[in-house]
Amino acid sequence: MISPLLGMHMANELLSVPIAGLTLVIAVAAVAIAALRARRLATDDRLPLMGVMGAFVFAAQMINFSLPGMPGTSGHLGGGVLLAILMGPAAAIVTMTAILIVQCLLFQDGGLLALGCNIINMGVVPSLIGWWFYRLLLGPPSRAAAWRQYLAAWLACVAGVTAGAALVPVQAAVSGVLQVPLSHFLGVMIGVHLIIGLCEGGLTFAVIAYLRRVRPELMGLDPSGLPASVRRPGFGAVLVSLLVTALLLSGVISWFASSLPDGLEWSYRGHGYGTTGQAVENRSPAVAAVDRWQSKWSPLTDYTRRETPLGQAPGEGTAESASGWPQPDGWSSLAGILGTVVTLSLVYGAARVMRSTARA
């Protein structure tokens, strides 16, 4: 992972309450299944293991290495996929859940209500997809050549990390909070995480290669049947991973660019307010479908109480005024802010008095 992009945690503000609740329920179910499985697999002496492994992931994120070609940036491990490869997906999901809860509570990284989303995006999805891809490509682990291990680790990281990251814009779009169109946000997230996946894959391979050499029994290998020499992935495998990443990136960029004229179009239309009276429109059918779905089923469409019954889009049943928004009354907002300031000064005074009497 690249340092400035550490804070890819979903924030509360990008979610609506129903979506936050729904993702929380899904996350709780997934973690419960994972916890049951991990419990069944784990013997008693492995009980502290998952918790301490969580601390290990924090520590491993401290180990950086400077990226070639991008001076000033340094990559470090995200950790989810590596954990899944080393400990199995169930234990990895439980560990990542503990990490995300601690990040949310202790470091306030990722909102309290977005915890469900974060557990899905950064715990469940990368662990499962990463582990599955790694198994799929590796074949029998004892005989796998170094280039094959490298490609398996790389693909596991790219697929796991990107799939998780791609869920962030989808969740935000379904919530309907963000104005940035889904296709652009998705393009940025996927593009960035393709590069992150490449770094993460290289580092994950390095860790696995080291562990195979030093503690082969940990990786489920027979220590006697392994070559003692340092195993390198080979130039070809690295070239393949770089080329595929570049191809995927250019695909994302061209997709991004093709959806860009849309954006310019709105900004032109924005001043005339078009024929529909709406300056902002997104032509993407996916967004339209999501919008339609949301306007039908969201209990608080556009955060006002809905006027039409659930299952009916606002325009369908009742005639709505074109402007849509009531004209705000300036005095109530002024009064609200003045009232808040007065209340806050009263609260502050009370707190001061209380603390000074407590000290005396």
């Binding site: 502290p48 509570l105 309290l112 340092v230």
Partner: protein, 257 residues
């Protein structure tokens, strides 16, 4: 790096610190729900919501700058999205403040709205963490229904977080002193992989030792905690006040003026 980094205010004493951890957790959770349930264009309606986090911080004796600094540290990702929204949302919105009326594009309102909600949410969470010891919070989570396995993992994670981070930093310093930054990319990657691999092996060994230590101290599958939570009448009053305040913010406020 030490626990002091995150715990610097949690060990103090104040009326807020004495409240039951469950009450505080529920209060902050419902506050967050109310906070994000607001419409993205009604920025001024958010003003009364600043009262609760600031009041918690003030009564707990936590300097507000500390909470503000947390907000700033965490802001880059959300800031990127916030700065994009004025370019996309150009719906004209009528804004009125006292006798003054303006029309601005909706994107600026969205940007202000998301940043205010983000700042208030982080401040509320900071107030909770700075007025509650983590062990008490874990006990509260357990009593509120989080499975024992997960609570124990959280406890281990918290206990060994800085132990392992310190270890990682020592190893990193050793690597940097040996000039690893000057090596070609492949070597650099291998060095980082080796360091992380070593940390992994040490972590496995450490968890074995922890298990042995637990077993010798009579661990039989049921953890015991010295942390006791007592839900008193003060907590009931606190929750009632918070509930009334949140209800007033959500439903009462625009109609009262």
């Amino acid at each position: 790096m030490h626990h002091h980094f995150i715990d610097r205010f949690a060990m103090r004493h104040s009326p807020i610190h004495r409240l039951d951890a469950r009450a505080k957790l529920l209060a902050v959770l419902s506050y967050t729900v109310v906070l994000i349930s607001f419409d993205r264009y009604t920025v001024t309606d958010l003003a009364p919501l600043a009262v609760l986090p600031l009041a918690l911080l003030w009564f707990a004796g936590v300097p507000v700058w500390f909470a503000v600094r947390r907000v700033l540290i965490l802001s880059p990702f959300i800031l990127m999205l916030v700065l994009m929204s004025p370019f996309y949302d150009r719906t004209p919105q009528a804004v009125a403040f006292g006798p003054w009326h303006y029309t601005v594009s909706g994107g600026w309102l969205t940007a202000a709205d998301i940043s205010i909600k983000f700042a208030l949410g982080v401040m509320a969470l900071t107030a909770l963490m700075c007025s509650t010891r983590f062990a008490l919070l874990l006990e509260a989570l357990r009593r509120l229904g989080l499975p024992q396995v997960v609570v124990m993992q959280l406890g281990f994670l918290y206990r060994y977080l800085f132990v392992l981070i310190d270890e990682a930093m020592r190893v990193r310093r050793a690597r940097d002193f040996r000039g690893a930054a000057l090596a070609p990319v492949g070597r650099r990657l291998a060095a980082a992989g080796g360091v992380i691999g070593t940390l992994f092996i040490r972590t496995l060994d450490r968890s074995q030792r922890i298990h042995l230590a637990m077993a010798t101290r009579g661990y039989r599958g049921e953890p015991h905690s010295l942390c006791q939570l007592r839900f008193t009448s003060t907590d009931v009053v606190f929750l009632l006040v918070v509930a009334l305040y949140l209800a007033a913010c959500r439903w009462g406020y625009p109609k009262w003026f």
